[in-house]
Homo-oligomer: 297 residues x 6
């Protein structure tokens, strides 16, 4: 079970509408190496984990990284929705993914950059722990490749902030799976870092995260479980030689960006004010004061 | 972002291996109306929600139910893995889903009862709030239908416990979306309850949940967000007339069932003891005492 | 069984070639909420209808609406083919759906706006009548949403005439399923009309149909069957308060628009005149005089 | 547009429940060479037909055969639903297509014998008339192959009656497309008949149709259009040497078989009598006397 | 088993980068009628061929043509990679197939012009020889249609050279299957040539191949097997009346075009020189002198 | 281009018909980790290889292994066709893959064990050499897992012989890609061998191949290209410490097993003798003596 909180792992900057860019960023959501894939691979591996009792540190590692990945699909989702705010529906049809206008109310969908839906076929969960870890390492490597390519082809500040963030966090997971594999078999995949061979520090949008040590840190995204990750996530970082560390709780995060109404696609309604009025009445009846902004803000 | 905790919403009883039943229960995981669909529909609707500020109670409702659904894919996952424990690989091939033996290490996969993978095409997220709520009501209705049909065709105690649990919890979501729609438009779908027209209380495995009032209760699966759900989830239950209520925190849950090694599918290894020994060493190095069972247990 | 007649439900105006628009209108053909879906959902529900004897009015309603939907795929098909007449093949590749040039001879295909083929997976036919009606209501609602979005993004007069027509006729089906559901359960979904909340009368291309009362009328598309639809399709229209009515026979319709040859895609041939000459000879041999235009015209 | 009438092209005999057979017969519905494919190929070719004015006899041929194919999906649909009547839901899961129990209320679905949904990708509509006719000949040939294989593997009397009927009617379409191709190009494909090389008259269930000359006759399924088919469908039958002929109107057909309620899958309801009572009341209010059987019967 | 040699069937000219053209040419790789389909249809038919001993000439024909088709996917692959050399990644996203930039390192993928992956569903292998030959004739006909349409819509010299080559070679296969069918059944499909009705000699890029008689020649792509193809591939060419012939060995071919590094997509690396240096060292250690160009050149 | 020869890499023993086993072995053909995937991944990577001149040893390695994989799809194909010989069509429908009877004439199809077609989506070709090699190592690892699981669940002697052969040959490719990666990056994946952790020598059907040193040998499947593989495939075998070696030419192989006619699925015809007689006449006309068995035998 999970507890969800209404925060994102990074701040999403606004920018000009960018339908083509939004189409490209979808690769990081619904592509074979997108965040839906990392989320669901680790999630299903945790469901099918056999020998949990005997192999607890490895179970904890996979289950905990799965938890972080949910935050990553949120981050990609918020980015794409932001990039579509204010976009012209006709331009979305000709230069972007038509579904963003015709189906999704200028919002994100679980599809890739070509519009193909994410599929459960992308989940690898063989039951064999060493095999799964090898897969996970490869998956994170392919994911890093995808993020770097999106970084190269999309200029929108939200996309850049997103990829900077994901490259650093994905790098931590790449290290985690390589280390787990090394501890079980002796094969040291960290020697192949960085893969692709672009040093993370060359990317300006990665630097704030590097400065706060995010590249060294596995956060436990849990009230108080998955404590045994420390038995695996340890040693030094393959690129910097700094010590790896596990932190709890995870950073607090940032509020979701505003996503204003887009009347030409009836989102959230052809006439927002009518249903907003109902919402205000319901809020008052329930004892909430002020406007309907985030309660705890 | 989420915090995941290592507990399930229900206790999963063990039973005899049941490959055909496990194949059928997959419908509740990866089918069009399975838990992957409820999870991802509400999740993506929360990513694309426009007018969050003005319509906070509805956003909170959808985002919070999304959080509960993650627990439901866990529950289905644990059930299927349990039903496959001890199953003969040959029997899985002839009477069940061959992938359970040949790909998944006798574990769950994100596929339906016919083996077709779940697809992002199952996500409806139009941006139009009233439309989305109508969809969600219909989705929960189709999900209830699916659960009841699985209940009728599978005898394994884990499947029965699972469907009993999910029918009650899904019923709460059905009420929630019907009520939201009613408050926005005046259309009262609760008059069609129960749909399918089988009273929940006739199902023995539902009764324990009814007795503790689970059918009346929306839990907030969050450290402290989504407080405005109370503005929508209110009034009386359409079948019993009892008052609906919102509770926080959600119930603590139950530990995951054991999933022992299955050597003939190399899960978690051809020789568990070899990697288990490595795991024990790592645990000791990290300061964990005793066997590698759940730390907090 | 059916009798097909060589007429369309509306007159399709010509206009400038519009490859991007044609790509968008495909959503109304092969999308999850397109006319292939309405046609095939009701068609298959009629094939699997259990209790036909006892529930004849509901069977008649579903089977008869299925019949009208065949005319709708014709209308969408004629529109798209018209929009592609005269289009430059290179422009189709860069701005539209490449398949319109490379596969389809500048004609319609059973795909959506992203080029994904319609799939039988879009058919919902649970066997449960109340469930199916709920689905059908939701399907018509999603279809109305899709038509309105295409209306907003495509200017071609054929697309505008088409959506004006389909919005009105789909609205009748939306009312029909809502009323059927109301009569069986008491839940009154018509209170949510219009959904999306754009009054039909605001759309200029809808007005001619409204003026002749098409929005109030269920036509029986049958030589003389499905008479019991009157037992369900009755009462008043939720938006206008006018009386609903059933008419037989359906209006006569309009001839198909011309679709001239497009030599660069070899449709109907690289050299039309050669095969046209053969056709003329065959016609004369069979006793048909004049040119090969529609016989009964 | 079409007029649908509530009759089938053949009488569907009842028999013992046969889940495995029903699964196999689905190939004739949703397989690449099933009736959905013949229906939709000719339907879409008629939508995209360029040069209709100059090539009327060929347009009429394709459009008219499309009309008959709708009757064929009805026939397959009624057969499969009949074969599932009385089937045990558990047996459907283990020996048949689980979706028949878990999704379809023991009714037909638009899928093939492996459960894969029919897809618009099966439609070939190139715009090139000679090419389309070549395809259509090949499609009918593949369809005949499929029908014969189902005949060989399924014993249920409904399946046998169905395949006997479809083999004869499909044979007429095979002749029609071969003749059209011969008239346009001189290539005489009828020399390859029968393909597969099993004489139709060897199949007992084909004989009643042969005796009434159905194998020689193209029916015009239209109130009064498609008159120019006679310019193409002419000459002698390649196997018997008898004269081909066009008839209008088509034979009257047979009533649909009963499809009684199946309570364990809630079709049409968990408790039929409750909704049947509502239906009776509605019928009486609308002036229909007697039970809710077919009005015109 | 095969022996592969590092040569192509034609010389691939270079040209300006053409992302939209490369997207279109993908239809000839991964489309239903692309070279993946011809390769895999004949390959699988050879695997499932029953009665090989009795029907050797037909087996040899199919197995040998399969061998040539592998060379055709190479030719399409080299063409697309060439067309993408030097293309701007952003332009690929907006005007071409985004996957060429985001996934494929500016290289070819097994997808069609809409980005949909080639699927095994395109393979027809019924076991019935006459049926398979009919299919193969139709497949080659559809393939010729596709090549001609790509020829019409893409100007890049590599695409023109490719289609000129494939139209001639595919024409030979069209003749081969028509002749095989004629010999088995008497049906003479060559009367329908050319299909589409564009004479091959009108296409400038076909002429060099016609001049060397490639349109008359079936090459045996084998060290010394498939000798009995001569029993079927014989007689005269339907368009020119010249004698058909079988040749062995096949022409020597041409070297692959250069495919220089594309740093912005990390192909073959972010910094080519680093891994190139390793490669040189390895070559020297293995005794290879000079630069790492083709050894036997 | 390739030269194909009519031989298999192993001798396929006959056995009792085994429809369920044949269904399972399809995983090795059309599954994500089947031989279609290994073949097409390496094939497409060779098409898109950038920097071929500078990185020749790595290009040669990938292109040459691609060549061997074609022989592996042949081997799987021959095995499945053999396992279906003599199978009862009804039993295929209930216990196996219905398509084997209804579509494929008791022959192999490009599908997996669940009947899902192989898809181009399984091809990974990023353009980044280190990335591709990482993928290829992982792919071979997953393939080994799949082969071992099929070995465990299928008893048919053809399936056992096949998996014994493929495990050894796939192991060579696993070593080859690990070594290539090690030479480029220093990361030594061979330390993880064997993966899954079942020593190859424990499998009786592997032993004959081990005895002749097949596990140490990369064959060059080419007339005389790909010579630079020796620069990469070198050093010692990670499990045995023996020296790796490259051999040319590859072993001669074995004849294809007989695949007799199966009349109930019309393969190769309803009446073999009729078309066999035509084939004999054609052979005699072409100067071939004796029966139509393999010429060179």
């Amino acid at each position: 079970m999970i507890l969800r909180y209404d925060r994102l792992g990074l701040e999403i900057p606004s920018g000009d509408p960018d339908p083509a860019g939004a189409m490209a960023v979808q690769e990081l959501m619904g592509g074979r190496f997108g965040e839906m894939s990392t989320l669901m691979n680790y999630t299903f591996q945790s469901f099918s984990f056999r020998g949990r009792r005997e192999l607890r540190p490895f179970y904890d590692l996979i289950a905990n990284i799965a938890a972080e990945e949910y935050g990553h699909i949120e981050a990609v989702g918020a980015t794409i929705t932001t990039m579509l705010t204010g976009a012209d529906a006709r331009e979305i049809v000709t230069n972007g993914n038509p579904a963003h206008a015709l189906k999704a109310g200028k919002g994100v969908l679980p599809v890739d950059s070509g519009g193909a839906p994410w599929t459960g076929d992308y989940v690898f969960s063989s039951g064999d722990l060493v095999e799964n870890l090898t897969h996970n390492y490869f998956l994170e490597t392919g994911a890093r490749n995808g993020k770097l390519k999106v970084y190269e082809t999309v200029d929108h500040p939200a996309a850049r902030a997103l990829t900077g963030y994901l490259i650093v966090r994905g790098g931590v997971h790449q290290v985690a799976y390589a280390r787990a594999l090394e501890l079980l078999t002796g094969a040291d995949l960290t020697k192949a870092f960085p893969m692709p061979r672009i040093p993370t520090e060359k990317i300006p949008e990665c630097r704030p995260h590097l400065e706060r040590g995010s590249h060294l840190t596995l956060y436990r995204f849990t009230p108080d479980d998955y404590q045994e990750v420390v038995a695996v996530f340890k040693g030094t970082h393959p690129e910097t030689g700094e010590d790896l560390r596990v932190e709890h709780p995870a950073p607090e995060g940032f509020p979701w960006p505003e996503a204003p109404a887009e009347q030409d696609v009836f989102a959230p309604d052809y006439a927002l004010h009518e249903i907003a009025e109902i919402a205000q009445t319901l809020r008052r009846q329930a004892g909430f004061a002020g406007d309907a902004a985030r309660h705890a803000a």
